[in-house]
């Protein structure tokens, strides 16, 4: 890890309004005056109910949408600048990949390795370099032995791993996961989350993970909660999830252990700090019960 952290995404007063086909009524902005920055190597979870603007925010960061207002700088390049060209955008997109929700919607080839090679082929790289990248990417997601398989016969989790490999073959600095675990079974979810965490930890890739699963968000180093197009919370998971009542108001929940401690606090018990993980909750409860003092 380098000492000096670079800012990979800098959003200043971003607003995005979906254009209405008819134009008869103005849709409210999906993202409204949002400012934040993401440093290199961060692992951020973005939470929010359906329609809170979190996916729109991700698509702005990935330049799928252009901000209606505000300034956006990605990896040092201001993408909202007047002279930011389409070529600049394509060049930059190789550095900021996105994995979508539906595993069936993002694989394009009939053989796994060809699918992974699709991105680097389009970069016009040499054959050997493409081969090297494809093998490396499949290795990183633990799918080498499936290189010659047909994608449609894989499980949902395996398909998402192939989609991730396709992004990795572009050698990105940032990967956005837009509810990439939401259509998977528990096993597939665990596989994909493990890969996200390893890419972040070992390869230093900045991970932004949009999810409805609070237990997944609790594992990130930072949580951003979106509501009505604005940032409602931005902080460490232990801090954000300590606002249980507020989260309920926003249509969200805290991880079950935190919910349990919250219920017990309401019944008059007290705990030190902000236990977050299952283990921390067990320890806090054991300490409280072991204390033996009557209510």
């Amino acid at each position: 890890m380098e000492d000096k952290k670079k800012t990979v995404i800098l959003a200043e007063h971003l607003t995005y309004v979906y254009e209405d086909d008819g134009g008869a009524h103005n849709a409210p902005p999906a993202v409204s005056d949002v400012s934040f920055s993401v440093e290199e190597g961060e692992y951020i979870a973005i939470l929010g109910h359906n329609g809170s603007g979190k996916s729109t925010l991700a698509k702005l960061c990935n330049m799928i949408f252009t901000p209606t207002e505000g300034r956006l700088t990605v990896l040092g390049k201001e993408v909202t600048a007047k002279d930011f060209s389409e070529e600049d955008m394509f060049a930059l997109r190789a550095d900021i990949g996105m994995v979508f929700q539906n595993p069936d919607n993002q694989l394009v080839a009939t053989v796994v390795e060809e699918d992974v090679a699709f991105g680097p082929e389009n970069l016009g790289l040499a054959r050997e370099e493409i081969r090297r990248r494809v093998n490396g990417a499949l290795g990183a997601v633990g799918m080498e032995e499936y290189a010659r398989h047909a994608p449609h016969k894989l499980s949902g989790g395996q398909k998402q791993r192939i989609a991730i490999a396709g992004i990795l073959a572009m050698k990105p600095k940032v990967i956005l996961f837009d509810e990439s675990t939401s259509m998977l079974d528990p096993l597939g979810r665990a596989e994909v989350v493990a890969i996200m965490e390893r890419l972040n930890r070992e390869e230093g890739i900045t991970v932004i993970h949009i999810t409805h699963y609070m237990d997944e968000a609790a594992r990130a180093s930072r949580v951003i909660v979106m509501n009505d197009g604005r940032i409602a919370f931005d902080g460490k998971p232990s801090e954000v999830f300590s606002n249980v009542d507020k989260l309920h108001d926003l249509g969200l929940e805290a991880p079950q252990g935190v919910e349990l401690l919250h219920e017990l606090k309401r019944a008059g018990l007290s705990f030190e700090g902000h236990p977050l993980t299952e283990q921390e909750c067990i320890e806090a409860l054991a300490k409280m019960l072991g204390g033996g003092a009557n209510v």
């Binding site: 359906n50 259509m183 067990i282």
Partner: protein, 286 residues
């Protein structure tokens, strides 16, 4: 009494080919009338095969499927009648919407049943009330709606069919926590009001613990456990043995019991574990 019953059912995929695969092996299990039964199991455990057998989409290789005590394959040509009796909401049903308006989409099944306009209207109104679809959406195209709203329309469409049994495969998958609660609350309220028998398939053990009366756990094509939610969830270790996720509070309660804190009661919901801890405190702790 069982509304639906599976007796000694086996199911083979691709029979008599090199790809032959036994998905269900001599399964016997019943679904109690008027109750919500959860169907739990890993991908590949056989639960989806079971779901497809329940309304006659698949025909058992061996054994029988009984609806109200009668073999649904007694008259194979009349299997369509069974499908109107056992409504199936598939995974991601929002991909199956097709009609021009929400009203027409939800009313499709009752229209096909040849019901009169008033009855269709009544069923649509009831279905949207329980799924939380605003009346203002009825004349919109279903394709203008958000993902969560589309899901509700699709579920409402199956409700409007008026089936006595509702089988729902992951009805709340991919929704935010409030959306999950609203949809599952609506399904439960609708089922209780109309005396429906519900079969709920989900990977979310938290939802199963909250919404089901009974549970059936499938593993490797067989029934691994079955009973009331209390019976099944109180054996958290047996569930973890086959790699199923039990709710986090159940794991917390199990860990505390291991440490010597004698928690008792409903140890798989937040409220249940809370009450158990409060009871233990009152009794003077350990």
């Amino acid at each position: 009494m069982y509304k639906l019953e599976i007796k000694n059912v086996s199911y083979l995929y691709s029979k008599n080919t090199p790809f032959e695969k036994l998905a269900l092996s001599d399964v016997s299990v019943g679904f109690e009338a008027g109750k919500i039964t959860g169907l739990i199991g890993h991908t590949g455990s056989g639960k989806s095969t079971l779901v497809n057998l329940l309304n006659g989409l698949y025909r058992p290789t061996e054994g029988t499927v009984l609806l109200d005590g009668r073999d649904i394959w007694e008259k194979p040509k009349e299997i369509a009648k069974i499908r109107a009796e056992v409504g199936l909401v598939m995974q991601y049903p929002e991909y199956q919407l097709f009609d021009e308006t929400v009203r027409a989409d939800i009313g499709f099944a009752p229209r096909n049943l040849g019901l009169c306009a008033e009855e269709i209207e009544r069923r649509v109104a009831e279905a949207i009330a329980f799924t939380g679809i605003g009346e203002e959406l009825l004349d919109k195209s279903p394709f203008e709606l958000s993902g969560g709203q589309k899901r509700r329309v699709a579920i409402a469409g199956v409700m409007a069919m008026g089936a006595g049994v509702l089988v729902l495969d992951e009805p709340a998958a991919g929704l935010d926590p409030r959306g999950r609660r609203e949809i599952l609350d609506g399904i439960r309220a609708y089922a209780k009001k109309n005396g429906l028998t519900v079969i709920l398939v989900s990977h979310s053990m938290e939802d199963m613990a909250l919404y089901c009366d009974n549970c059936i756990v499938m593993n490797r094509g067989r029934v691994y456990m079955s009973g009331t939610v209390d019976e099944v969830f109180s054996d958290a270790e047996a569930l973890m043995d086959i790699g199923l996720n039990v709710p986090m509070v159940a794991r917390i309660a199990a860990a505390l019991r291991k440490k010597g804190f004698p928690l008792t009661g409903t140890l798989y919901t937040v409220e249940g574990v809370r009450d158990a801890i409060l009871r233990l405190r009152k009794e003077g702790g350990v």
